[in-house]
């Protein structure tokens, strides 16, 4: 729907929420549950924030190791740190 402005990246990020995708995922996971109308938007919001936090943490890790590229180790470490919110067991 709304296109984000080009902040610092050359590519444009579509902020449109993949509502169909989210609905499908939820249905596949929990077929017995139903998701409300605007619920998927909040799920999308949650995902956005999660990804945001994860990216920030990964970026911090990469900067600490003085790498100019984010490595998968950075991402893993970030996920482990942030997993306390979501994951019962760390990746």
């Amino acid at each position: 729907m709304a296109l984000s402005t080009i902040v610092s990246q050359k590519k444009q990020i579509k902020r449109k929420a993949p509502r169909g995708f989210l609905k499908r995922v939820f249905k596949r996971q929990k077929p017995q549950l139903r998701l409300e109308k605007s619920g998927d938007l909040l799920v999308h919001l949650n995902c956005l924030l999660f990804v945001h936090r994860l990216a920030e943490e990964s970026r911090t890790n990469a900067c600490e190791s003085k790498c100019r590229v984010i490595n998968k180790e950075h991402v893993l470490a970030a996920a482990k740190v942030k997993s306390r919110f979501l994951f019962l067991s760390k990746n």
């Binding site: 995922v25 605007s38 938007l41 909040l42 956005l48 979501l86």
Partner: protein, 561 residues
Amino acid sequence: MADHNPDGDPTPRTLLRRVLDTADPRTPRRPRSARTGAQRALLETASSRRLSGQTKTIAKGRSRGARSIGRSAHVQARGHLEEQTPRTLLKNILLTAPESSILMPESVVKPVPAPQVVQPSRRESSRSSLELQLPELEPSTTLAPGLLAPGRRKQRLRLSMFQQGVDQGLPLSQEPQGNADASSLTSSLNLTFATPLQPQSVQRPGLARRPPARRAVDVGAFLQDLRDTSLAPPNIVLEDTQPFSQPTVGSPNVYHSLPCTPHTGAEDAEQAAGRRTQSSGPGLQNNRPGKPAQFLAGEAEEVDAFALGFLSTSSGVSGEDEVEPLHNGVEEAEKKMKEEGVSVSEMEATGAQGPSRAEEPEGHTQVTEAEGSQGTAEAEGPGASSGDEDASSRAASPESASGTPESLQARRHHQFPEPAPPPGAAVLSSEPAEPLLVRCPPRPRTTGPRPRQDPHKAGLSHYVKLFSFFAKMPMERKALEMVEKCLDKYFQHLCDDLEVFAAHAGRKTVKPEDLELLMRRQGLVTDQVSLHVLVERHLPLEYRQLLIPCAYSGNSVFPAQ
């Protein structure tokens, strides 16, 4: 003067001029007169004021634009006529002839009367000026107009005179004179007025803003240069927008590790190309010792040859090839490279280019990866990752690209590791099989898992892109894959939590309250930060309207609570 010289008696004048030239330039007028009279280049020194005046008139005749100057010069000349000096006498002699000629230019110059009228006024001023300071100025004025028969020179003189006048601090009233004098001085010293003009001309290039010498980046040449100079430490920037290329990761790696027996020309060509692309991958896996120097030198040539024919992909590939042979067999690699290089160049130019071009976008990414991999060749870790990335990218590219490019890539893959002797024949045999396998499975597989995987991955890719966007830093492919896995797990956990919350509330439908509770547990929503605040921050307007109840006209609230 020039006018009269041809018209009048050139001999006496020329002689006199020469005499005057040799004489000291008492006043710039001389040069002026000389110029005006005879040739502009000639600068007579110690020009009599009379002469200067005449020259001024002549100059005026020549250059109508310099009337003002001419007038002043003329006036000055007349003023000078009053004085009696040897030079003036000589000048008078010259003037006799020019006098007649003066008429001609004057006649030619219609506005003669006007300037003449002005001249007397100037005469007086000129006299005063003469006595005051720079009699030289006067002659300069005469000279200036004379010399500047064409507009340019006049302007030059003016400018020079102005400059000199400014430098000398001449009064404004005498500017024309002063300028002339100044110019005459300069002219007397230097045959031309070019000197004052030089700064201008010099200034022009300085002032003129040349467009930055930027030319369109030639990727091929660029890559070629990179390879030539050294294994530039490229960043493993994943420009490839294709997120996932895992399925074929393994196969290309195998290819890399395999030493490719030199195939015939066609294959060689592909091999070379494949090697390049694959070199980074397998080379990395083989732990390149980082001896690019040797191979680079030898292969640089080949690379150059290739690069010319190829697009960026090829150049990157060649670079990779260089890296690879380092490990396995320098000699073998060199030989093969050279052989293949020739054939490759031919082949590539023809066939490879087509598919390579088709794969350009991928190739670019591959190239970048290859370069990056090359750069990191010494570093095994990043090298391996880049190699994997390359492999994965290549894997992805074949999938995305048409069949031909895939086949080419496959061939390249197994042709690539020629310089790698260790793997042996077994690998070779597996090579042909693997590329085929690689090609076949994706097609039948995609039909099956595609409906399940692709949409799922497409949806996840959305968040993966968001991740890279939030990170604001280049990321590796493996990192993106890791992000994908994290997202997968995250979704699973999310659904479980929502189920728990809904069940806790005795509902079978997940409501926004459950979501809020989830976010509160995550620490995103606090007493200070409410859900609505987050919604406003991160979601676009359309979604905000749907989520946040807002009062509308008619005492209605949407969405209804």
